[in-house]
C-alpha cells in the first residue's frame, strides 16, 4: 500500500506542477501582458517598462516561472497590487471559511442523500423510489445560484429568519456563523445530495442481492439492521468514491454560492481577483485550489482503504 500511495502522491505532484505552469502561462497570455493591467491601463510605455522591471515581467518566462515557484514553495506568493496585502495571508484568512462551508455542504449532501437512497433502494421501482428519483432529477436541473436566490427570497426577504448575505466567523459568534452559512450550505449540498442519493440507491440495491445479506436475514436480524448496517456499510465505499469525484463540482459551486451570499471565502476572492486583474492573487488561488483538489482526492483514496478492509490488510495470510 505504501507503494500505491507513493505513486498517487507523485502523480498528484506532477499534476500540480503542470497546473501551476498552465496558470502561470495563462495569466501572462493576456493581451499586453500583466503590466498593462497593473499600470491601470495608462498606456505610457515608461510606466509599463517600470512595472515590467519591478515585477520582473521583462525576464524570460521560464525564469519568471521558476522564480515564482521558488518563492511560492517558500510560502511567499507575492503581494496583491490592489490591496497591498501579502497574497499568502489573504489566502490563509479565507481558507477556513471556504472549508467550513464545504464541510457543511457535504454534511447536507450526505444527511439528505444517503437515507433517501436507502429508502429508494428498499423498494425499487415503487412509488417512493420514483418520487425520490424525480426529485433528484429536478434537483440536478436547478441552477445553484438560482436556488440560492430563491432561498434568500423566502427566508430573508420573506420570512426574515435568516440573513441574506455576509459572514460572521465561528469564533466570534457560532450561532450567527451558522445562520449565515446555513443557506449557502443547503444550496451547495442539495446539488450533491441528488448524486449521492442515486449512487447510494444503486449500491444498496446491489448489496441487497448479495449472499451476506441473505445470511444476515437468516440470522433473524431486523430489516432495518440488514439494510442500514450490512448493506449500507458495503455501499459506503461507492458513495465516498462518488463524493470524491464531485470535488471539482464542489469548488465550482463554492464560487457561485459565495458570490450569491457574499461570503468572504476563496471563491469570492477568485472572482474579485479576475475582475480586478489581480494576478498574484489569481495565481495563488488557482495554485491553492489545485493543491487542495489533489489533497482531497488523496484523502478520498485513503478513506477508501479505511472503508474496505480487503485493501487495508496488506499481507493477511489466511490460516
Amino acid at each position: 500500500m505504501i507503494g500505491r500511495v507513493g505513486v498517487r502522491i507523485s502523480t498528484s505532484l506532477l499534476t500540480l506542477f503542470l497546473a501551476s505552469i498552465a496558470v502561470f502561462l495563462a495569466v501572462r497570455a493576456l493581451p499586453g501582458g500583466p503590466a498593462v493591467a497593473l499600470s491601470a491601463e495608462s498606456g505610457d510605455p515608461g510606466v509599463i517598462a517600470a512595472i515590467n522591471r519591478k515585477y520582473g515581467f521583462d525576464q524570460p518566462v521560464v525564469v519568471q516561472f521558476f522564480r515564482w515557484l521558488g518563492l511560492a514553495l517558500r510560502g511567499d506568493l507575492g503581494t496583491s497590487p490592489n490591496s497591498g496585502l501579502p497574497v499568502g495571508d489573504v489566502l490563509l484568512d479565507r481558507i477556513p471559511i471556504t472549508l467550513e462551508l464545504s464541510v457543511l455542504a457535504l454534511l447536507v449532501a450526505v444527511v439528505i442523500g444517503v437515507p433517501a437512497g436507502v429508502l429508494a433502494a428498499r423498494r425499487p421501482a415503487g412509488t417512493g423510489d420514483f418520487l425520490a428519483s424525480t426529485v433528484a432529477l429536478a434537483g440536478l436541473s436547478i441552477p445553484h445560484f438560482w436556488f440560492g436566490i430563491l432561498l434568500i427570497l423566502g427566508f430573508s426577504v420573506g420570512l426574515h429568519v435568516l440573513p441574506a448575505a455576509g459572514f460572521v466567523p465561528i469564533l466570534v459568534n457560532p450561532l450567527s456563523n451558522l445562520e449565515h452559512l446555513l443557506m449557502p450550505a443547503i444550496v451547495l449540498g442539495t446539488g450533491f445530495a441528488a448524486i449521492v442519493m442515486r449512487q447510494t440507491r444503486s449500491a444498496v440495491i446491489d448489496a441487497l442481492t448479495s449472499d451476506y445479506v441473505r445470511t444476515a436475514r437468516a440470522k433473524g436480524l431486523s430489516e432495518w439492521v440488514v439494510v442500514g448496517s450490512h448493506a449500507l456499510r458495503n455501499s459506503l465505499i461507492t458513495v465516498v468514491t462518488v463524493l470524491g469525484l464531485q470535488l471539482g463540482a464542489l469548488i465550482a459551486g463554492v464560487v457561485t454560492v459565495e458570490q450569491v451570499f457574499d461570503i468572504p471565502g476563496l471563491g469570492k476572492l477568485t472572482l474579485d481577483a479576475v475582475f480586478e486583474r489581480d494576478y498574484p492573487t489569481l495565481q495563488g488561488v488557482v495554485l491553492l485550489t489545485a493543491a487542495g483538489y489533489v489533497i482531497a482526492n488523496l484523502l478520498v483514496d485513503l478513506s477508501y482503504t479505511l472503508l474496505n478492509p480487503r485493501v487495508r490488510v496488506l499481507a493477511g495470510v489466511p490460516r
Binding site: Y212, T215, L307, G316
Partner: protein
C-alpha cells in the same frame, strides 16, 4: 432420532411466477426431522433442495409462492408474519450456506458477525457476546480464537470461514440447523473436519441437522436418514444404511452408481452418469418426473405421477415399479 419431530414439513410446494410462465421448484415435499438426527437431502443441482431449505426459514425470493405446512415443534411457521419469523431465524432454526466467503459480510469482523446473533436473540452485552463468540470459535475448533475473532473474512481460509458460519449458526443453540452444501467448496481434508463438527453437534447437543448435498460420500459419512429429491419431488426416503444397501428408486440406484467405489480388484469403477438433466416443472406433472431418464421405465410410468408410499422398514418411495435389488458395498 426419536420422539416428536423438531421439524415437520407436509406437502411443501414452491411456485415461481416468471416471465416465461410458472415454475414449480418444489412440488409436494414432505419429511420430518427429529432431535439428534442428521437428515440428508440429496439430489442433483436444480432439483429444488435449496429452495426447500430457504422456504423453511421464509427466505425464498419475493416472487415465490409457498404452500403446504411447515411445523416447528408442532407450531405452524409457514406464512408467519415477519417479526415472529425473525425470532425463529438464528435462534430456533439456523442456516449454514454453501459459499462461506460470500456469505460473510466482508466489511465486518468475524467476531462481530457471530456476536450479532447473540446480541439480537439473547440480548447479550457487547462484551459478553464477544466472549461467547470466542467460546463458539473454540467449539468449532478454530485455532487461536482470541485472534480470529478480530479478523475479517477474507483473512481466513475457506475451511475457517465455514467454521465461522457454523459458529454463527450454533450460537443460540438452535434446535435445527440447515446446512446447504456446507462442504462443497472445501477440499476433502477440510471437508472431513467440518463434518466432524456437525457430528459433534448432533451427539453432544442433540441438534437436528438437515444436510443438503449432492455428494453421496458425505451422506455415507454422517447422515442418519436420507431423502432423495428430483425435480422438486421426493423420490425416496430411507435410513442411510437401508438406502445404500437396498436402493429402491431407479434414480437412487443411478446416483449410487456414480459413487466411485473400489471394485473387487481394488480399482475404481467408472463414474456412471445418468444421461439427461433435471427437468424444470411448469405444472403438476402427468407422468413420473424421472420417466424420461429412467432405465427401468415402463408404459404406465408415463401415464401417472407416482405418489410416495411406505415400503420396507421406515422407507418410502415414489415409484410404480421400485427396484428390489440388494446392493453389497
Amino acid at each position: 432420532m426419536n420422539g416428536r419431530p423438531v421439524l415437520g414439513v407436509t406437502d411443501l410446494r414452491v411456485r415461481f411466477d416468471t416471465d416465461d410462465g410458472p415454475l414449480l421448484a418444489v412440488d409436494g415435499m414432505s419429511f420430518d426431522v427429529h432431535p439428534g438426527e442428521v437428515l440428508a437431502l440429496v439430489g442433483e443441482s436444480g432439483c429444488g433442495k435449496s429452495m426447500t431449505a430457504l422456504s423453511v426459514l421464509g427466505l425464498q425470493p419475493p416472487n415465490a409462492r409457498v404452500t403446504g405446512s411447515i411445523r416447528l415443534g408442532g407450531r405452524e411457521i409457514l406464512g408467519l408474519e415477519s417479526r415472529a419469523l425473525r425470532s425463529i431465524r438464528g435462534r430456533e432454526i439456523a442456516m449454514v450456506f454453501q459459499e462461506p466467503m460470500s456469505s460473510l459480510n466482508p466489511v465486518f469482523k468475524v467476531g462481530r458477525q457471530i456476536a450479532e446473533v447473540l446480541r439480537k436473540h439473547e440480548k447479550m452485552s457487547a462484551a459478553a457476546a464477544r466472549r461467547r463468540a470466542v467460546e463458539l470459535l473454540e467449539l468449532v475448533r478454530v485455532p487461536t480464537p482470541e485472534r480470529v475473532v478480530d479478523e475479517y473474512p477474507h483473512q481466513l481460509s475457506g475451511g475457517m470461514q465455514q467454521r465461522v458460519m457454523i459458529a454463527m449458526a450454533v450460537a443460540c443453540d438452535p434446535k435445527l440447523i440447515i446446512a446447504d452444501e456446507p462442504t462443497t467448496s472445501l477440499d476433502v481434508t477440510i471437508q472431513a473436519q467440518v463434518l466432524e463438527i456437525f457430528r459433534r453437534l448432533r451427539d453432544r447437543l442433540d441438534t437436528a441437522i438437515i444436510l443438503i448435498t449432492h455428494d453421496l460420500g458425505v451422506v455415507a459419512d454422517i447422515a442418519d436418514s436420507v431423502v432423495v429429491m428430483y425435480a422438486g419431488h421426493k423420490m425416496e426416503q430411507a435410513p442411510v444404511m437401508e438406502l445404500f444397501e437396498r436402493p429402491r428408486h431407479p434414480y437412487t440406484k443411478g446416483l449410487l452408481g456414480t459413487v466411485p467405489r473400489a471394485g473387487l480388484s481394488g480399482t475404481r469403477r467408472e463414474l456412471v452418469e445418468i444421461p439427461g438433466s433435471v427437468p424444470l416443472l411448469r405444472s403438476a406433472p402427468t407422468q413420473c418426473v424421472f420417466a424420461d431418464r429412467c432405465a427401468y421405465r415402463q408404459d404406465d410410468c408415463r401415464a401417472e405421477s407416482p405418489v410416495i408410499r411406505e415400503i420396507g422398514v421406515a422407507a418410502q418411495v415414489a415409484c410404480l415399479h421400485p427396484v428390489e435389488v440388494v446392493v453389497r458395498s
